[in-house]
Symmetry: C2
Subunit: 505 residues, 2 copies
């Protein structure tokens, strides 16, 4: 099944293939998409794929199903085997002899200690060229416009229940972002506020009447001003949605295995957009200070959203779950007694008399890394999981999961960054055993050991972070210097220097 | 109608009267309550009402309907008329000759400049004694237990569409908090973690078997530890709910006018609980530093919650509204064009093709103080509003409003406070024209002019803040020294010194 998914993906990536599904309406729970209207293209500019790419096109279904890593690692068959070795857990980085990653990016990864057959993290680092749709606004294009836009892109995808969704996202999500940005190429390059209204069909000659372009001062006096920045945020949000819809679509014909958390960074026109759906994390370390650039979406952090949904749509609980939370599973002998609970409206706890339906399993249970939705999944946002069912049941879990990221924006131009200021992206394998402060200390320790223009410094930092989270084999386990257990999970780290592309390389 | 409500309220407050409705289940949208099971009592300790009380029992229906202010203002009939004068807008405070407010609290208020006939803000400041229910846990009470608990209580209620809800809340919400705390009196005074499970009937002799009291170490190994603090939070949350249910109940027989925002502070066992439902605000000013203790709940801050509800329950939109947001009302001639929009999942904006249903009025529209739900109401949390309908329609708005507060906790024992450290509570009349920083500056300026033990300093500060927000009559309006318009709204301010009750008086 996996191979079929990947065939479909390869077909898409090779351009002119199956177009992506595009949702008819911005409808989260409606998985039925309208037919696609525009083909998805690979970047046309040769520079657009410089030094990047995610996964090499696999040669056979068997090879593909076995294992794949980001192409920028340039792994030989032997290297691929070493990267797949749970016993050795060798840290992988792009070779320092080959073509470097864009923006002097550092990267390192390591496979898990045996929790899944393969490394289910995937990564992507691209420079993407966006060619605008011709005359989007209906106004004839001025010669200085329509030059297209480039964005830098980094993505970390932490798969679960199979590697299919993470691999598909690593190959395609940036293409969906490009697709969403196509309508905005002219608008983002025009300093005036975005038009509220555009003609129906891009490039439609009949719509070149300027009256179609409703400017912000026309019509009602009360209207919101929408910023360029919020258009980019909207484009990224919708790209996540379209990506998720595509996985649902592919699922019908073939099968997209599992789901994935997605942490994505887009650099466009001076601003860094950090979009997170899941439990990966991004922080900026700037002059030693830590600036959180994401938050995690888990059954604990999203408890009230999940409970509200179960309360408003009890049919989603299938008579098997209760939307109420209890400190532990209620036992039949406790019927009629009063037990602590909380519902979707509460952050505190109170006592309620236990009734028969409280004996159902709680929608949200457990704490920390053991917290689960419907006793099954420990993250509440991400891509895929369309086939995920409650264990020994046909009850779908997907309605409780959101594919939408939270997007935070950081204006690169508002601060003069030094070579040691970095944006650190990591999957939960890093953060489970490493605090923000420990990461900041490692940033300081490692980068101060390299010249500011040493091209290896950011990869060395990524490696140090991955090694520090993995630990060393000792006492039948992977242990940190303090003898605590290291992370047995897949660990992947990007280091993005904030000084800009190539400034220090 | 108002008089009937107030009769019912007076009846209740006089003890032994109509008991409050108690919801059968923690069900936000189900306004149908089970029959009450326990009578609501006034505090039994004589000290419990010292220096406080909200509104004096009105003598006639006419007098009650005309105007009422908190009893702690001790207004004479002439004073009441002056307080009701929109032209003079005299600042009202408790007299410095009478009984002072508990906890050396400062208070000041002023009526609006004519936007409503009467001052629709109400206030309450009480010391409330909670007598525990006998042997809640079923375990025979130890002699040292069961002494009851005292809490200090402050409430600001900003009414809209009539003063009934604000007045009812100012008379009763603290009684509901006391009621919720009754079961917790023993538990909160016991340093061990709260029991997860209690016997069914408090004081039931048959339940004194200790096996009914399921301790945190029994049963499953995986269970959450619930703190004493979170029990108090839960009690406050549920008290808001019961208060709102009672307003719904009273509405059936009589009528509770309008709705109100509620900002409530409870001091209990060393901690300050700040509960906010609406657009009032609380900040701590400590050593010049500002610590926000609440956030506002408006159509803008709660846009996504409202849109999600409209999306999941489209019947609540009655075919009249769309859950999508547009920067301005869509016009029929724009059908087929593409306009900026955002839905419940987005923080950014994108373009969508305008369809027929997008011509409906948006569920959320406008900006800042002009933001509205269903073109009607500018706050999204509070008490009451059970009869609120969309203008020229029968569509109810209440399902979109939440009665639940956000509760923030501040541990008074974690910091040694000086006499100039204060908690400032204000209705939006204050905050519409005064920033947090300006309030902090006024705190510094006013308090430094008084001896630390001067009993008038906190009332003087409250008066200065109210005066500073009201301004002076000039150029046919109320204007601030910078010539900007002052607040034409009702303005009410509590100043709570953080040094503790009576420390500096």
């Amino acid at each position: 099944m996996l191979s079929r998914v990947r065939s479909a993906v390869a077909h898409l990536v090779s351009s002119g293939g199956t177009p992506p599904p595009r949702p008819k309406s911005p409808d989260l729970t409606n998985a039925t998409s309208a037919l696609p209207t525009a083909p998805l293209e690979v970047p046309k500019s040769p520079s657009a794929r410089a030094g990047s790419g995610s996964t090499a096109p696999p040669k056979t279904a068997e090879a593909r199903a076995s294992f794949s890593r980001p192409t920028f690692l340039q792994l030989s068959p032997g290297g691929l085997r070493r990267a797949d070795d749970h016993a050795g857990r060798a840290v992988q980085s792009p070779p320092d002899t080959g073509r470097r990653l864009p923006w002097s990016t550092g990267y390192a990864e390591v496979i898990n200690a045996g929790k899944s057959r393969h490394n289910e993290d995937q990564a992507c680092c691209e420079v993407v060229y966006v060619e605008g749709r011709r005359s989007v606004s209906g106004v004839p294009r001025e010669p200085s416009r329509g030059q297209g836009l480039c964005f830098y892109y980094w993505g970390l995808f932490d798969g679960h229940a199979g590697g299919g969704a993470a691999e598909m996202a690593s190959r395609l999500l940036h293409c969906h972002i490009r697709e969403q940005l196509k309508d905005l190429v002219e608008i983002l390059q025009d300093p005036s506020p975005p038009p509220l209204c555009l003609p129906s069909t891009p490039g439609d000659p009949g719509s070149s009447d300027p009256s179609h372009l409703v400017g912000p001062q026309s019509c009602w006096s009360s209207q919101k001003e929408v910023t360029h920045e919020s258009l980019v945020v909207g484009a990224i949000e919708n790209a996540f949605h379209v990506m998720d819809e595509q996985m649902a679509q592919e699922r019908r014909g073939h099968q997209v295995e599992g789901g994935c958390c997605a942490l994505v960074v887009v650099y466009l026109l001076g601003k860094v957009y950090v979009a997170n759906a899941g439990d990966s994390r991004a922080i900026i370390v700037r002059n030693g200070e830590i600036i959180p650039m994401s938050r995690e979406f888990t059954p604990e952090t999203e408890r009230q959203r999940l409970q509200l949904l179960g309360f408003l749509k009890p049919e989603l609980l299938g008579g098997e779950f209760t939307h109420l939370e209890f400190p532990r599973r209620v036992q039949p002998k406790e019927l009629g007694q009063r037990m602590l609970y909380r519902d979707q409206t509460m952050t505190g706890w109170a006592y309620k008399k236990i009734e028969l339906e409280d004996l159902r399993f709680p929608l949200v249970c457990g704490e920390g890394k053991k917290a689960r939705v419907m006793a099954t999944i420990g993250v509440t946002r991400g891509l895929g999981d369309h086939n995920l069912k409650v264990c020994s049941s046909t009850l779908p879990i997907k309605p409780f999961l959101s594919c939408f990221p939270e997007v935070r924006v950081y204006d690169l131009t508002q601060y003069e960054h030094c070579p040691d200021d970095v944006l650190v992206l990591g999957t939960d394998g890093l953060w489970d055993v490493t605090s923000d402060c420990e990461v900041a200390a490692t940033v300081d320790r490692v980068l101060s050991g390299y010249e500011p223009n040493d091209p290896n410094r950011y990869t060395a930092l990524a490696q140090a972070l991955v090694l520090g989270a993995r630990g060393a084999p000792r006492d039948r386990g992977w242990r940190l210097p303090n003898n605590k257990l290291g992370s047995g999970d897949d660990i992947s780290v990007f280091i993005i220097p904030l000084g800009g592309p190539g400034s220090y390389s």
